[in-house]
């Protein structure tokens, strides 16, 4: 090969590009965070909150890229297939990281095996809500009422595979309720019909229903969580009422499988710092969500959660599909 000036420059440039990451400290360029849902949704909002803080810790911008479609599985498939160089990370949720294998037979990733886990980002406890004029006054009465009338009632959800679908499914099958399932395209329209009294009840992320509960346009029976949440101080928890139903949705940060340990540590650390920031803690409270603490935080906590949730949700969804 004749060495012209052009090839020499190209060779030097190529060397520089390939050699750089080995010498320089990660990260040396902006990082892409894939959110597998539309901008403005619950996963997107929490991702933007924490990545903005992480960008400051890491000294590089984290750019949120929304790749929506097929219940978030398109974006997560893309994340699973990306280079494990630390410049592509993703934030999935309970749907993409636990329910998806049962719902999508051709899924191109395995939530427990295709990713390098970073950490749970937040839990958003589910809240049991109904239209304003449903007669029961508290959760016990409501469960009895549903037991007697559920076949005449309508449960609204945001589409198969959505959080409200999965949590409703677990709720209804656990207590033996058989309402008609009314499918909406997203939580917004479903909530709208709940406020308008077209449908009877829902089990959905607190984040989505807090404004309506505080304004009294819908009724809240309980938060399916061990402790009361700051945004809904007057709504009791299922635990204090002695009802065995705990259900939280969650978001989790992952990277493609094979991410070097030192990069993983950096990301885990940066995310952890973000979740400890008082300003972010306050935002979490407003959203009715909580940050993972203790053993829940970090890669091991996430791996354990994914395996546990897949084991819990898959049989319920498979049974539903078999019907």
């Amino acid at each position: 090969m004749k060495i012209t000036r052009r090839t020499a420059i190209a060779a030097v440039a190529a060397l520089g590009v390939t050699a750089m990451p080995a010498f320089a400290q990660y990260p040396t360029k902006p990082i892409t965070a894939i959110v597998p849902f539309a901008a403005g949704g619950p996963t997107d909002v929490v991702t933007r909150l924490v990545t903005e803080h992480m960008s400051r810790t890491l000294g590089q911008q984290i750019i949120v890229e929304n790749i929506g479609g097929a219940g978030g599985t398109i974006g997560m498939s893309r994340a699973a297939a990306a280079e494990p160089d630390g410049y592509t990370i993703a934030v999935g949720n309970m749907g993409t990281q636990s329910a998806a294998p049962a719902l999508y037979p051709n899924l191109k990733y395995d939530p427990a095996k295709s990713f390098t886990q970073i950490s749970i980002v937040n839990f958003t406890p589910q809240t049991i809500v109904s239209k304003k004029d449903l007669p029961p006054k508290d959760l016990k009465e409501m469960l009895a009422y549903l037991k007697a009338n559920s076949e005449k009632m309508n449960y609204g959800h945001a589409g198969v595979g959505s959080i409200s679908y999965v949590s409703g499914f677990v709720f209804n099958s656990q207590f033996g309720f058989k309402p008609a399932l009314v499918a909406y395209k997203g939580t917004g329209p479903a909530l709208n019909d709940l406020v308008g009294g077209q449908i009877d009840y829902m089990v959905d992320q607190s984040l989505n229903v807090i404004p309506q509960i505080t304004a009294g346009t819908i009724k809240a029976y309980a938060v399916a969580h061990p402790e009361r949440i700051a945004a809904l101080p007057n709504v009791p928890t299922t635990k204090e009422l002695g009802v065995d139903f705990i259900f939280s949705a969650w978001n989790a940060m992952v990277a493609p499988k094979g991410l070097p340990k030192d990069i993983q540590d950096k990301l885990v650390d940066a995310l952890s710092k973000a979740m400890d920031d008082p300003a972010i803690i306050k935002r979490y409270e407003q959203l009715g969500s909580t940050a993972p603490k203790g053993a829940d935080r970090g890669p091991a906590g996430l791996q354990k959660l994914v395996e546990k949730e897949v084991a819990r949700i898959t049989p319920v969804l498979k049974a539903a599909a078999a019907k």
């Binding site: 539309a38 901008a39 403005g40 949704g41 997107d44 909002v45 933007r48 909150l49 903005e52 890229e65 929304n66 790749i67 929506g68 479609g69 097929a70 219940g71 599985t73 398109i74 498939s77 719902l103 051709n106 309508n154 589409g159 198969v160 595979g161 008609a180 399932l181 009314v182 499918a183 909406y184 395209k185 997203g186 917004g188 329209p189 909530l191 709208n192 019909d193 406020v195 308008g196 009294g197 077209q198 449908i199 807090i210 404004p211 309506q212 505080t214 304004a215 346009t217 945004a231 306050k282 935002r283 407003q286 959203l287």
Partner: protein, 500 residues
């Protein structure tokens, strides 16, 4: 009444502060400039520019985002008129007469009347929101799935009116549009339909892909048939802004469009998409000479554009009073609010009156800014049309591809747009119109969802559509519209049969 005045005063004092007015201006300007790129609609623009607002205080940030939204919306109309590409569903009818006007060298007038119509519509809609947001919300909540279904049926009747040529061809296009809308995951069972195992379309085909392929690209293909250097728009650019007689013709359509748009906009079920279609159909029915429509009738731009803008504005009602987003753009606004630490919902009015009224006042200021930004810009846009077509069309194609790519960061969707371009070209050659197909597509999505919800809730009884007064009323209206619009067509075809 006094409340209203003092509230608006509070709002104006917030939104009118130098800081916030500057943000509003900046938002409108950037929104217009980005929204004018073919394919980059309001959603893409807001998502792209969201990080810009991170350093701002919440009120300022929301005012700026709202500005970006109006700007992008208006920028979309500009593309519709200049290069025949509807960036979103509400701009489809603007294309019909707007682009014809541009072809006749009246682009400036079309853009001008769109800006003026939007301003008037925006002003009226702002007052409606300020004065009647609460009662309108309770009215909107009366609408259940069955009623929305009936509304969509009424909308399909407009599509028949919309058609220029043969009615059977129009109906075929509507049905094909509805068929296209069924591609994707069935919302009730989660089963994929007509996707042939292709994940990329598991959520259905995006509106922009069909619109850009069938309107924009297909139009380019057709233009390239002729070997003329000029291309899209004739060289002569007459008068740049609408004159008094243009304005006189447009005034009533603007007011009617505003009324229709405001009315449909506040319905949380995304009724706003119907606004421009309804306005266009009504103007065409009221016109002394309906054959002018589709040939560059100014009413066909003025009415729908006003309806569009009024609807875009009143769509804030469910967001502000219920905290529930009626469409994807508003869902994004809610996300933006949450990022800024504002929990949207009914309590905003009492807890953060400065935010609530500031935002309402900023709507009006935003509309004023748009007028100020756009009237001088018209000259530049129109001059842009003088660019030789051989330079122009590759640029349009590239910008469209960027726009499509940015929807989901997916290259396959760009390829899909190409496929729709070929299909659209075929339709043009065979004398089919694209607008009814797009309307069928948009309404098909909503219709199916609402029909199935209504049927699940009524446990399969069709009587639900008759039992509910709102639904019954709308269906009767749909029947009347159908008879009125179909009768002349039937009698005309009889005449032709007889003359033969």
């Amino acid at each position: 009444m006094w409340d209203l005045v003092s509230n608006l005063q509070l709002g104006l004092s917030v939104a009118g502060s130098l800081h916030n007015a500057a943000l509003c201006f900046l938002g409108c300007l950037i929104g217009t400039l980005i929204g004018v790129l073919p394919g980059v609609g309001p959603i893409a623009t807001i998502a792209m520019l969201l990080p810009l607002t991170f350093g701002l205080d919440p009120v300022g940030a929301l005012i700026m985002l709202a500005g970006i939204y109006y700007g992008a919306q208006y920028g979309g109309s500009t593309t519709a008129i200049l290069v025949n590409i509807p960036g979103e569903a509400t701009a489809v009818v603007t294309v019909l007469d707007g682009h014809q006007m541009a072809k006749q060298g009246r682009a400036g007038i079309a853009l001008g009347i769109a800006a003026i119509g939007s301003f008037i519509a925006g002003t009226i809609a702002t007052i409606i929101i300020a004065a009647a947001a609460k009662p309108l919300t309770s009215l909107a909540l009366l609408f259940g799935p069955a009623d929305y279904f009936a509304l969509m049926v009424l909308g399909l009747m407009f599509a028949v009116v919309l058609a220029r040529g043969s009615v059977p061809k129009a109906i075929a296009m509507i049905l094909f549009g509805i068929l296209l809308s069924t591609v994707g995951t069935d919302i009730e069972t989660g089963e994929e339909r007509l996707t042939f195992g292709w994940m990329e379309i598991a959520d259905g085909i995006d509106f922009a892909i069909i619109a850009m392929g069938m309107f924009g690209f297909a139009e380019i293909l057709r233009n390239l048939e002729h070997r003329e250097a000029r291309g899209v728009v004739s060289a002569k650019i007459g008068q740049l802004l609408p004159n008094f007689s243009d304005f006189k013709t447009s005034f009533a359509p603007i007011l009617r469009g505003t009324g229709i748009g405001s009315l449909l906009g506040f319905l949380p079920g995304n009724g706003a998409v119907l606004g421009p279609f309804a306005s266009y159909s009504i103007e065409k029915k009221l016109a002394k000479d309906p054959s002018r429509f589709g040939q560059g009738a100014i009413e066909g731009v003025a009415g729908p554009e006003s309806a569009n803008n009024a609807g875009a504005q009143t769509a804030f009602i469910p967001l502000l009073t219920l905290g529930i987003p009626p469409n994807a753009v508003m869902a994004l606004m809610i996300g933006a609010m949450t990022i800024h630490g504002i929990v949207p919902g009914p309590q905003i009015i009492s807890k953060q009156p400065d935010l609530f009224w500031g935002m309402i006042a900023s709507m009006w200021i935003g509309n004023l800014m748009l007028l100020i930004i756009n009237l001088p810009l018209i000259g530049i846009w129109v001059r842009l049309l003088r660019v030789p077509y051989r330079l122009m069309f590759p640029a349009i194609v590239i910008f469209c591809c960027i726009g499509i790519y940015s929807i989901n960061n997916s290259p396959t969707q760009v390829a899909l747009t190409g496929a729709f371009a070929l299909f659209g070209y075929l339709l043009i050659k065979l004398g089919f119109e694209q607008a009814p197909l797009l309307l069928g597509f948009v309404l098909g999505n909503l219709m199916e969802e609402k029909l199935r919800q209504a049927m699940v809730i009524s446990r399969g009884s069709l009587w639900t559509f008759v039992d509910r007064p709102v639904s019954l009323g709308l269906l009767v209206l749909a029947l009347i519209v159908f008879i009125v619009s179909a009768l002349p067509a039937i009698s005309r075809s009889r005449e032709t049969v007889f003359t033969e």
